[in-house]
Assembly symmetry: C2
Homo-oligomer: 714 residues x 2
């Protein structure tokens, strides 16, 4: 009997994790090739399967993404929109136009939803049009032109236009065969060109870099060096071919395959590990209601996939056991931009300083997660519903997973003895809830974890994996380099004829904190070194906290310094603890990096939002994207840095906290052919938000509560 | 059938995790009280149970701790040692005198062990004697006096001497009753006094701080403020009583209890979480051989508990699938010192700047781990075998646990498409092995994790939990503070009449790296900002690596700077990869903190080893303890900083890497009455040590391999 229940349960699990269709790749930026026009490899276009979707057919919450039906309606409204009649539209984005924050804050479950609106970016004759479509009235309620520089992100159509232009170009084909490469082995990628002054201004362009896929699935490690095309995305013409005609050999295919079935290289002498798994036979402790509302422990928040941001967390509230009420922590949080400058200034490389969110889209490039490997067993998967260049809904299954974590960590502990000799040995297991997405932006894979903890903390972790961007090199050994032997300006020799190009990653997070409501202040708590005048004279020094409430934006432009430490609190000045401490959350940085580029270098101008690690701005619904609404070829005239130059007041305002998490990456041989995940993290932690430790009443583990398990069927 | 196997298995697990005796507290520094002289609350003295021990009865490895028999033998040799005849010895430490490194490196399994020796610290008439006892010849082979300042760590006898002196002191008893406190409710702690110049020099003293345990097990939160005794540890006399006769009230007992049965405060509205557990029904993938050799995945290392350091990792080697050989990574690694300065300079507080390893001992204060809560199910426990002041062996069960971790993380991933349209979705689960110990140094709990990863990385994590050190205060609300209201020089108001005193934690690790052998160099790889002269002129700047091999110690005194980033490599200049890259490991810092105390402040002089985050020294068997062999009342004349002032050569030498992990802690209400664990970490990662990613051949999870589980019996 026991074992039959058990098996039934097991079968359910097994179905659950295997029930998703694995039909084809979603959102990869790879794999264009003339001989087969791979439109379907982009954003899962033509891959929309209504029968597979898990979306509510009507919105239940003001922040729910547009439904399939709402997308279709928007499309038909646009198709009959006078100014666009007769012209072929390219729809670069079509998503929910979120209601005003005040409306969302007023809304309660059961209330009618605020008017549903769609925000649409249309490209017409190379010009970006911004439209708001009112789904209530069925009318376009607003229509403006792009006020700043830049273009919408690269679309599926753009990429195929560029690739067709490339492969039909005879000079290009000659250059390929001159290198002894079969044209049918060639795969090219279309990348953002950045912006470097007038030369390439006034038209939408892309840069085409090619690889050979001969004898490897990992063509990123077989670059065709010294060949780069510039293509006009609207005219479809090749406007420049950069060809060094160089003798740089193409790195060998051997050793580049990392697929389970493809790895030649096996590890002798190391026994494979026995199975280990986080098990919850009593079921998950979290619920996902109405498709997007996650409830777990004291947390409740709205979670959705976004074509540009990947994951968006909204309306995060925590239950306060003291008051028996839910309290607001965060209105909206997401990865706003991701800046990736490479450190090679050769003509074929200088422009590589990408904005992965604005130029490609962290949701658009989010791949279907691999059950049991990208996410543990007992994960709940959430799909993405995006839009193709024709404005049709695109279904991307399983782009987010939600799971509970127990990794053997300790939430709190203390041991000791009491007066009466009784032993105290109290310890509590640490359990958390993770919402995860991954983005494969071409060669690179990003892993984004939002980890909610029972003590009221939120940990955000970014993981980097995938394939490093490789540059062909004449060298097979560092002895062949000029002196100093080890140092190549571009990076490191990671395999024969292969330079792993040095680069950075800067992920800038938009953290709209609403600590006990929207009206907050930012307090910099400096830990100030003091000299002792009061106490024991032999003790010369100590530090003490000095709190500075930021009046305006300039007070909150923070460059972290180890020898000038501070805490960074977002407080609600109106909400005091019983002791009079203001309710607050602090942002706790961990390992990070700051850009070393010159402030006036075009890539850094465009990414000026990385000039500080922390910024605080007054809430402004138009200020969502740190690199600007349009980052593609942008001049840096619409970044967080520009907005914040106004030095607006931020004391006792609805404020937004911005944090940039940075990585320097100097590749090494261990990163070849696929890199072990590198992670960094930051935390948001309650500080005098609760009257006391909110988890002193948490339960310990008891043996008799834990699962009873036997080996799997293999 | 299936379910019966299953139940049998379960019962075994259940026994395993519950089979340890929970007889009494080990190693706490709490709980001295006159009316009952609590010797047994110290270090588990008189608690030695031969029948409970899990130690090999003979040493199998040159680094194995002394066996029970070896300890007894050492004691009997000392008892007949001429110079000590007739005098009552106090043995402050008695542990293995490790053989010379060269002998250990030469030794192979099966070879006879190098001569076993004991290193003993004896206190005789206030003088520390250092003896080496040769267990082969049965003779004392070396006998010296303490060459530097300082005394051995506080012993059980010392503490009881001090407490007896205190409780029999009438002035003290008057002061207690003057405060309306029952003497039988009073618990005092004996703490290291630090060193502040001549006044207290020339004799061993301690500072006695008292609390009332009335109506709470958490007396640390009921301090009797303004009362401090100084006791001579050798004469047993009270040499000073500091009494402010202040009216500072004793904080209330209410809300201080954190025990599961004692917490009045319950969380309504939050459902308890359902069980979640890391399960391995096929068994663990690691072995512990000969008591101390841990073998897991590609890793093999020697692991033991040490009375002073807590955990010592030795001879860490990793299997290289490329060569089919084991390769050396690290000869010896441990927490060498732990400096905890408090930021209150009042006469009753100024001296609080502790050295928790050298003054108390991280192993001596290691508590028996709580199964299922301090460590997950399927943990393997290792006992500590220490020595009491009479030189008798002391058994501390389960001070270390070893377990495998899977927390849903991703070891590496990449998704994409191939030329032939085939989908690539490769992801690998991240599994690691953790060796953990905890230390309860009075009020504070430390958690030390050494996490070994399949990619060759080692992550060291330090967790802080337990009870904050509280100072009595007249205030119940911050409005009662002088302006500026929020800022108390001492810390924060965390409860009525309770200041959580601001403080730091600096954990200095001794990392004797032997990358492919002892002869290594330290290379600082600066990521240097350059201006562009070569490539596209509009791209102005980039960074590139500049490697500097450290010639001498001064080249390797590192202060971390966010805007001047570097990598820090320990390389073997003689061992090159096939590409010519030197084999190396890099230390990767994460969140940390640096001391703000004045360099000439006595506490900082004694802790000058924290003046840099990284140091590199040539190997010297006498340089193990960053704060000196004797830190108790030391003057700072025997620290890492002093040794390293010699600026010795470190290029192509056997070198030791020192890293200090720091925390600033400004307490908040969430830290009351017990603090949620705060962690930070650093990593040691292979850099061109392997020819390629060593885990590309790792297996993914398959559903049919995973456990089949059903709910526990509750």
């Amino acid at each position: 009997m026991a074992s039959s229940i058990f098996c039934l349960f097991f079968i359910l699990i097994f179905l659950q994790v295997n029930s998703w269709p694995l039909l084809r790749n979603h959102g990869s930026f790879d794999g264009y090739n003339a001989s087969k026009n791979k439109l379907e490899s982009l954003f899962g276009i033509h891959d929309f399967k209504i029968q597979n979707n898990h979306f509510p057919d009507r919105p239940m919450h003001p922040l729910d993404p547009l439904t399939i039906q709402e997308i279709e309606t928007t499309r038909s409204i646009l198709s009959s929109y006078q100014p666009f009649l007769g012209s072929s539209l390219r729809i670069h984005s079509l998503s929910l136009d979120e209601p005003d924050k005040s409306e969302v804050l007023r809304w309660k479950r059961g209330n009618p939803l605020p008017t549903r609106k769609a925000f649409v970016v249309v490209l017409l004759n190379g010009q970006a049009h911004l439209l708001v479509v009112d789904l209530g009235s069925g009318k376009v309620s607003s229509h403006t032109r792009n006020p700043a520089s830049g273009y919408p992100s690269l679309s599926a159509d753009d990429a195929s236009t560029a690739l067709e232009a490339t492969f039909s170009n005879l000079v290009f084909r000659k250059a390929i065969s001159a290198r002894g490469v079969e044209i049918d082995d060639v795969i090219c990628s279309a990348a953002a060109p950045g912006w470097f002054g007038p030369e390439e201004e006034g038209r939408r362009i892309t840069k085409i870099k090619c690889y050979t896929a001969q004898n490897t699935p990992n063509y990123y490690l077989r670059p065709i060096e010294g060949l780069l095309l510039t293509v006009d995305l609207d005219s479809g013409e090749v406007i420049n071919i950069y060809d060094t005609h160089s003798e740089i050999p193409i790195p060998k295919a051997e050793g580049t395959d990392y697929r389970r079935d493809g790895v030649e290289y096996r590890a002798p002498g190391v026994e494979p590990l026995k199975p280990i798994s986080m098990e919850q036979p009593n079921g998950q402790s979290f619920k996902v209601e109405d498709g997007y509302i996650v409830k777990w422990a004291s947390w409740e928040f709205h979670l959705k996939a976004d074509q540009r941001a990947g994951i968006i967390i909204s309306r995060a509230t925590v239950f306060d056991p003291e008051t028996g009420k839910r309290r607001s922590v965060m209105y909206k949080a997401f990865a706003s931009e991701l800046f990736v400058p490479y450190m090679d200034v050769d003509d074929g490389w200088y422009f590589r300083a990408y904005m992965d969110a604005g130029e490609f889209g962290l949701g658009a490039t989010a791949m279907e997660l691999v059950p049991l490997n990208d996410c543990p067993r007992n994960s709940h998967y959430i799909d993405g519903l995006f839009v193709d260049p024709d404005g049709r809904p695109v279904f991307q299954p399983n782009v987010i997973c939600v799971f509970e974590r127990y990794s053997g960590d300790i939430a709190w502990r203390h041991s000791g003895t009491q007066l009466n000799d009784d032993l105290i040995r109290e310890a509590r297991p640490k359990i958390s809830l993770v919402a995860r997405t991954t983005a494969t932006v071409g060669n690179y894979d990003y892993i984004f974890d939002w980890e909610f903890q029972t003590d009221g903390s939120i940990r955000v972790t970014v993981g980097l994996s995938g394939i490093i961007l490789a540059k062909g090199s004449p060298y097979e050994h560092i002895n062949q380099f000029e002196i100093p032997r080890w140092d190549s300006p571009a990076g490191s020799l990671v395999s024969e004829n292969t330079i792993g190009v040095a680069h950075d990653h800067f992920i800038t997070f938009h953290l709209d904190m609403d600590v006990d409501g929207p009206i907050n202040s930012f307090v910099k708590v400096d830990l100030v070194k003091n000299y002792n005048i009061a106490g024991k004279i032999e003790r010369k020094s100590y530090w003490s906290p000095k709190r500075k409430v930021a009046k305006s934006e300039d007070d909150a432009k923070i460059k972290l310094q180890l020898d000038k430490p501070s805490e960074y609190h977002v407080i609600n000045p109106r909400r005091k603890s019983r002791l009079g401490n203001p309710s607050g959350y602090k942002i706790v940085p961990s390992a990070t990096a700051t850009s070393l580029l010159d402030l006036h270098d075009p890539p850094q101008l465009r990414a000026a939002f990385t000039n500080n690690q922390i910024w605080v701005t007054p809430y402004n619904r138009s200020e969502q994207w740190a690199g600007g609404l349009f980052t593609y070829q942008s001049h840096g005239d619409d970044t967080l840095a520009v907005w914040s130059n106004r030095n607006r007041g931020i004391e006792k305002q609805d404020i937004v906290l911005w944090y940039t998490l940075g990585f320097h990456h100097l590749p090494c041989q261990e990163d070849f052919p696929v890199m072990p995940t590198v992670t960094s993290t930051f935390q948001l932690k309650p500080v005098n938000f609760f009257e006391r430790n909110p988890i002193i009443q948490a339960n310990p583990n008891f043996a008799e509560d834990l699962p009873m398990c036997r080996p799997g069927r293999h």
